[in-house]
Symmetry: C2
Subunit: 204 residues, 2 copies
């Protein structure tokens, strides 16, 4: 411990390192916000999140100067988790099954984010960065699953991940009125569509 651990630090040398309590509070805040947003929607009061995290309101605003910053941070984290699930599923299942499972995982993610979708289209410029992040993370994740499944011959090749993402997002919209199975059925239908022209089998 006496030796200076010459850690890779992108910042200048003179800076102190982040205080331990600050990091701890930030983690607690993100966890609390995720839980509260899931339970009460993105319109939940900041005070409620602060209380659940066991910190003062000032601490919330130190880490997230605006309410929207907290929402964005949680959103990014959940997008990351969804992208990460692609790798996990790819390692644990065969390509076709991994793709199918991920699509349902993604459907759940979209369905749960209904309230956030409303905020997204509310015109607030703070949220303009979200769609691009969404694409940047999720398109490669899905594309890798699609490619693997196509290579294994269980789905047709050459289908754009972007289109599939958008299609599921759109199809998930009415699933709140038509029941939760509706989105599931639509996604399964899309998957069957992908399987249709799979491999060398199609006669035409």
């Amino acid at each position: 411990m006496s030796g200076k651990t010459a850690g890779i630090r992108p910042e200048e040398e003179g800076k102190r390192r982040v205080r331990a309590d600050a990091q701890r509070n930030l983690d607690a805040l993100l966890r609390a916000a995720m839980a509260v947003f899931a339970a009460s929607g993105v319109d939940a009061p900041v005070r409620e999140i602060a209380e659940k995290a066991g910190v003062g309101i000032g601490t919330v605003y130190r880490h997230f100067p605006q309410r929207s910053d907290l929402i964005i941070a949680v959103f990014r984290q959940e997008v990351d988790a969804c992208a990460e699930a692609a790798r996990t599923l790819a390692a644990a299942h065969e390509p076709g099954e991994a793709l199918a499972r991920w699509m349902r995982r993604y459907l759940d993610f979209i369905a749960a984010k209904r309230g956030l979708a409303a905020a997204l289209h509310s015109g607030d410029p703070a949220y303009e960065v979200l769609p691009s992040y969404f694409q940047k993370r999720l398109v490669p994740a899905l594309q890798s699953l699609l490619d693997a499944a196509a290579a294994a011959g269980v789905v047709r090749a050459g289908f754009a991940a972007t289109d599939l993402l958008r299609a599921v997002a759109v199809l998930a919209a009415p699933s709140q009125e038509l029941g939760p199975e509706h989105g599931r059925r639509m996604v399964d239908l899309l998957l069957d569509g992908l399987r249709y022209g799979a491999g060398p089998s199609p006669g035409a």
Copy 2:
């Protein structure tokens, strides 16, 4: 004026008639709300609307117990105006032109209601009545235009007004990012699609 005008009144006899100032204020409120919502979106403060209408806040809440009631009233009125436009246009133009003009009119309506669409999907149960009203008023309006145009042989017959309404609503969504002409082009494309199989002309 001395004779009692035995007006058709659906209510019981004993009731007084609505006070003149109440009716005047209600009209002023609706006009003010329409203007303010158009200028600043549906999130505009109630106080601003009250001031523009020249009434106190209490008066607003007498007529519209909740903020959402005011939004809903304005929405209904604009839906009514859009439905009414179908009759006006049908009387003033030939069927094909009337249909085309109404579609653009409807597109403008949808494009202007972006902020409201966000509120609509925000999960607030107060707005649940809006979609059905929307359908009930607009589907017959468009259907009459479609039928007339089909009878005149300028568009194909048998296309459902419901589908067309939904398609335009969906297509208008990206027109805020891709410029206002985008929606226009898409609607024109839809109209050309309708014209394609018109009358007895199609060879196939």
